[in-house]
Amino acid sequence: MSDNSTFEIEINGVTLEAHPDEMVIQVADRNGINIPRFCYHEKLSIAANCRMCLVEVEKAPKPLPACATPVMEGMKVYTDSPLARGAQKGTMEFLLINHPLDCPICDQGGECELQDVAMGYGGDVSSYTEGKRVVMDKNLGPLIATEMTRCIHCTRCVRFGQEIAGLREMGAVGRGEHTLIGTYIEQAISSEMSGNIIDVCPVGALTAKPSRYSARAWELNQSNSVAAHDCVGSNINIHTFRDQVNRVVPLDNEHINECWLSDRDRFSYEGLMHQDRLGEPAVLDHGEWTRQDWQIALARTAEILQTAVAEHGEDQVGILVSPNATLEEMYLLFRIADHLGISNIDHRLRQTDFSDQDNAPVSPSLGVAIAELDEQNAVLMIGSNICKEQPIIAHRLRKASLNGASIMSLNMRDYDTHFEQDEKLLGCPSGVINHLAAVTRAVLELNNQQAPSDLSDILAHNEPGDEHKRIATKLMDAEQGSVILGVQAISHPHYSVLEVLATQLAETAGVTLGYLTDGANTAGACQAGILPHRKTAGEDRADPGMDAGQMLSGTLKAYVLFNLEPEYDCWNAEQTIKVLTAAEHVVCLTPYVTDTMRGYADVLLPVTPYTETSGTFVNIEGNWQSFQGAVSAHAESRPGWKVLRVLGNLLDLSACDYMSSEQVREELASHVIDVAAGKPPVDRVPVKLFDQPDAGLQRLTGISIYGVDNITRRADSLQKTPVAQDQMIRINSKLAGKMQLRDMDRVFVKQANNRIRMELVIDDGVPDQCVWIPGGTEHTAQLGDLFGDIELEAD
């Protein structure tokens, strides 16, 4: 608040403290005095168009709307005087004139603000006997159901679009009695935060389509949990009905997601009960899959691991863990691996350049608290499609941008954002490195500093242009600034170089260096020791094992896969499947099973997704957020930590008699004391020059917003959204002209040994000689490296 001075006002005879720039309703809310309202929402601008919050103010000739009446010293407000009550009752009657009162068939019934307020403040009978207005519904896409006849024109959804989502798609068209809230032309709402309009709608006009007509609000049980699809760790409430997840809604947490939730976190639950769910443990026996008891399947798993280690050595076993696994699962996997002497263990599945891993932070972090992003003055995002990858972080950056911050990006594709970008640098993979070198050099020059010797070549090679100097100046001038390495930077074929340069840049400019990682628990994986070069809490391994890339480049004897589908989740889909198929043994601990998985696995152990287990995710701030299971485990599947505990016992792992996941967490917590302190720097990787343009076409990949993990990929409604349906490759008009291709042409994409047919879009936001391809989709699960050489052929 800008002004810290306070004065006193009186509401209903009680003296209360108020700040000069507050409205009456804010003071009342803070002190638990209930004023009915529909259009007022604390996160949205004030519209004062529903008139429900009319109150009596002394010396005012008529009732005033509490949401739009600024407080004044000595003001006396009455919220339930006869005048106020009469005004509220009258307003309620007006609001109900056109409302259909179809509560018995309305999904909002039981959790409806209109219902509640009508009960509390309305009359018993309406004086209105004429016909009611009927509004034809518009289809807003697969996520949001509409029943616009119920709309009371509060315009919260309109303001949400304009102010929060930054994408004004809803509006009030027409006039007077004929006013309608809608999109005017039929179109799906495209914001990745669109589901929030369901929450802000005070009536049943906008409801959740996937859970429509499935349960009544009062039949649902509620469990607090943490969203499992990005590194933000949005807080959620899981609503369950008859031991099934019925829907997911946000849980207010001002430090993380406020009252918002991304559509991915809200609607991904639909994937939980997909037909691919693995119900029982299964073992491959002489080429036949047979259902087995847990005991036999786990004994077989222990035998595979022990035999592989005994006969071929510890370095012939590889363990790959999804960055969405819980902290407890990760720690137990670490303990089992450590016990067997296996150091080939990794969670960095979409990364390929690990050469500077010894300089990586013990736990990747945003560098600032998520809420502090609002107050940044300058942010440079490197390799990030922020709105699709971490929608809540994008929302914070949008707030910063509206506060006047300069948000800048360095990307391999010009991604749309719902906020202004002050500067955009665009380049192919090597171009991005050169841009970053130029910005780093500009910052060093502004600081009159010499280039560090190991960077002198690459810096000398990259003369800063005006745009680089502008970015450098903005970062230098920022009181609070950040350089953020995003998911696509981490997947970059020369990530180590980007990291070296970004570290140098942040250090010289005096701003923080942050990471926005893949998955929900990458920070947890690093802290738990799911790394080949480090143990728990970042302790160096004496003898580093193979990283994910090495494990999947040549075949090992045995693999353990935890909660992942390698053809979608790994750097090189085609190669990974080949390697796994050639391996002697593959054990999959997985919630889902596919034919591909049956093709390479020997043992399938059904573990539960996050809704059916207790656990902890560490978000990108380093916040340990624990949750309980919301529903029982499906069929014979079991929480991962329990399965691993029993496996640990079978392998004679000492002190592995945990009674709860909390015990596992507490034990890990006792090791992880101060991961933020970091490690002493070691020599950086040598940085070579990137002065030769890449010879052929280069593949660029952005993982599709709804293709990030096994649950999301099975969420039906999300898959039906236009953004998930967009499976087209993108090339710029220069390349299209050269190859004589047109928009929507079909082309063959050739990579590795595969050739797939895809549609193309001409997009001048893609750099020259590059082909942008969505990742994590069925099509591209047959291709090779996420970045690298690729060929296009006209159909």
Partner: protein
């Protein structure tokens, strides 16, 4: 204009149309060019024979850098924007209190019968369409009508008939 936009709006955002809109844009501070939305819609409507299509409204949104829905809101709020084809002569009969008391209802009945079309329809020859509008601000000359850009006052069916014949 990017190639995509060029393809989409090039044929409606012609040079003279843009020049005309630019005159209005120049009346406002550069960061508030959306203030010209009403004029831009009017220019587009005149250019298109008196009515707006979604494409024309989208073109205005693109040209003034506004969300499309914000243009739809304006274009559906004001009654002088048409969303269906109209006749060469759009006959707007005032239906508000003074005109109503002075017989605007009779004028409407007469027109509908005489032209053989109802409100909102266009005569087969494309010459006329009839519309009811809110107060024209000409109470002193009630009942009043606006045909094209011209006001006509103290109307009776006979006078109206003569006016239509003259327009023919």
């Amino acid at each position: 204009m990017s190639s995509e936009q060029q393809k989409r709006f090039g044929n409606v955002l012609t040079a003279p149309v843009c020049a005309e809109i630019d005159k209005w844009v120049a009346n406002y501070p550069p960061e508030q060019k959306q203030s010209a939305v009403m004029s831009a819609l009017r220019i587009m409507q005149e250019e298109n024979g008196g009515w707006l299509t979604n494409e024309l409204m989208d073109a205005v949104a693109y040209y003034l850098d506004m969300p499309r829905i914000a243009v739809y809101e304006v274009a559906t709020f004001y009654s002088m924007y048409e969303h269906q084809p109209v006749g060469q002569n759009k006959i707007c009969i005032c239906n508000s209190i003074s005109c109503m008391l002075n017989g605007s209802g009779k004028l409407l009945d007469y027109l509908q019968e005489n032209l053989g079309v109802s409100l909102g329809e266009v005569t087969k020859d494309g010459k006329f369409s009839i519309k009811e509008v809110e107060c024209l601000g000409a109470c002193v000359g009630a009942p009043a009508a606006m045909i094209g850009k011209q006001y006509y006052e103290h109307l009776t069916p006979e006078i109206l008939d003569k006016i239509l014949q003259d327009l023919d």
